[in-house]
Amino acid sequence: MSVRHALLALLSEGPKYGLQLREEFEANTGQVWPLNVGQVYTTLQRLERDGLVTAIGGGGPGGEPGPQKAYRITEAGAGELAKWLRVPPDLSVPPRDELVMKVLIAVRVPGTDVSEVIQAHRRYLVELMQEWTRLKEDDNGRDVAFSLVVDSELFRVDSVIRWLDAAEGRLRRALADGWNPARAAAATASAGLPTRPTMGVRR
């Protein structure tokens, strides 16, 4: 998450003080990501250094940020913000996902029921979704920013559960067809790892 660009976005509405920026940041993200005022000031200092914002009042530019200083976005800052909004984040490389690793490893540990491992994770994730849904229900759509954040978490966790469902189905079919993970891995290792196409070239 880019605090830098979030602050630029808030300043694109007009000049603001550091404390005000922190409050508005938290309000705009449904108060899901807390931000301390130190982070705000450090980020503002860097933005000023890079010419993306300028300080107004409170001893002039270049000095220590503080409550008495307001900031204004520069033309370069507005350009940077517009560019950032439209550049897709890099999702092309799969993250080293701990849950994916656990399932891949569970397949290789003798005496481990992979379905049981998968179910333990599935239950935990559904419980997590129940907590988010309860927050959403209590809020009843009043705070749109909060609903957006909650929806994004629900969809994210949901996609992990769908992967678990798909993984379990795939493993059951493979095991029923006589697939042996240890033998399959040994065969792949001796034949040399297959080359895979590089992802994300269209970006």
Partner: protein, 238 residues
């Protein structure tokens, strides 16, 4: 008292080589005010569980109690009456009668149960009003959007203060906003004391429930912890 109690239910379809065991020793208790979601992949027995809970089908073994009554011991007539008075059904494809208006669809179960047409009509209008459908009462199903049709189906399922609501993928045919609205409504009825069982494979919808039960190969394999809240504390046996 629990509204629904399934005791060691098993269900076998077919015989011999064609035999399919849909449910194996499933026990499930749903209290008044509780919303339970049943999750599982296709073929895990979710729909069988729901039709048996709704007394539309009998289990091969086990007992089904609704409001404390052993439904397998009831006569055909008494069972139909229980179905009309105590149980409401919501289906994925709404199952509204196309030749009847929204209000007529909702009042029909009451009229079938002997309520006068006038009283049934008033109750239907009230149920529709609660779901924000007053303006749609005189419309026919094909004049309603998918979300509105499902809300009419919910009104039909809860009209007459039924104690058990059974829903099979109630938002399967709806977009996410309408699906959420449907789950929100079902949960709201539960908070007023209705017990509900919602069958779904969708975790987002299941997460509206107070408790999620996981079904696999006809068995209950797991369930989520019931959150500690004032309602659950009240329902704990002392």
């Amino acid at each position: 008292m629990s509204v629904l109690e399934l005791r060691s239910i098993s269900k076998v379809y077919g015989r011999g080589a064609a035999e399919v065991q849909a449910l194996r020793d499933v026990s499930l208790t749903v209290a008044a005010g509780e919303m339970v979601a049943v999750m599982g992949p296709s073929g895990s027995g979710k729909s069988s569980l729901l039709t048996i809970a709704g007394t539309l089908e009998e289990p091969t073994a086990g007992a089904v109690l609704v409001n404390g009554k052993d439904t397998l011991r009831l006569s055909g007539g008494a069972k139909s009456q229980l179905r009309r008075r105590a149980i409401g059904y919501v289906f994925q494809d709404f199952n509204l009668l196309p030749g009847l208006t929204a209000a007529e669809n909702v009042s029909l179960p009451l009229e079938l149960d002997g309520t006068s047409m006038r009283k049934a009509h008033l109750a239907a209008l009230k149920a529709l009003e609660e779901l924000g459908l007053s303006d749609q009462a005189r419309r026919f199903p094909d004049q309603l959007s998918g979300g509105e049709r499902q809300r009419v189906a919910i009104a039909r399922a809860v009209v007459g203060e039924r104690s058990l609501l059974l829903a099979d993928e109630p938002s399967g045919a709806l977009d996410s906003a309408n699906g959420e609205a449907v789950m929100r409504l079902i949960h709201r009825y539960c908070k007023r004391g209705t017990a509900a069982v919602v069958v779904t494979h969708d975790a987002q919808l299941a997460s509206w429930a107070d408790r999620v039960v996981f079904l696999r190969d006809g068995r209950v394999v797991d369930q989520t912890a019931t959150p500690a809240g004032p309602e659950t504390l009240l329902e704990q046996p002392s």
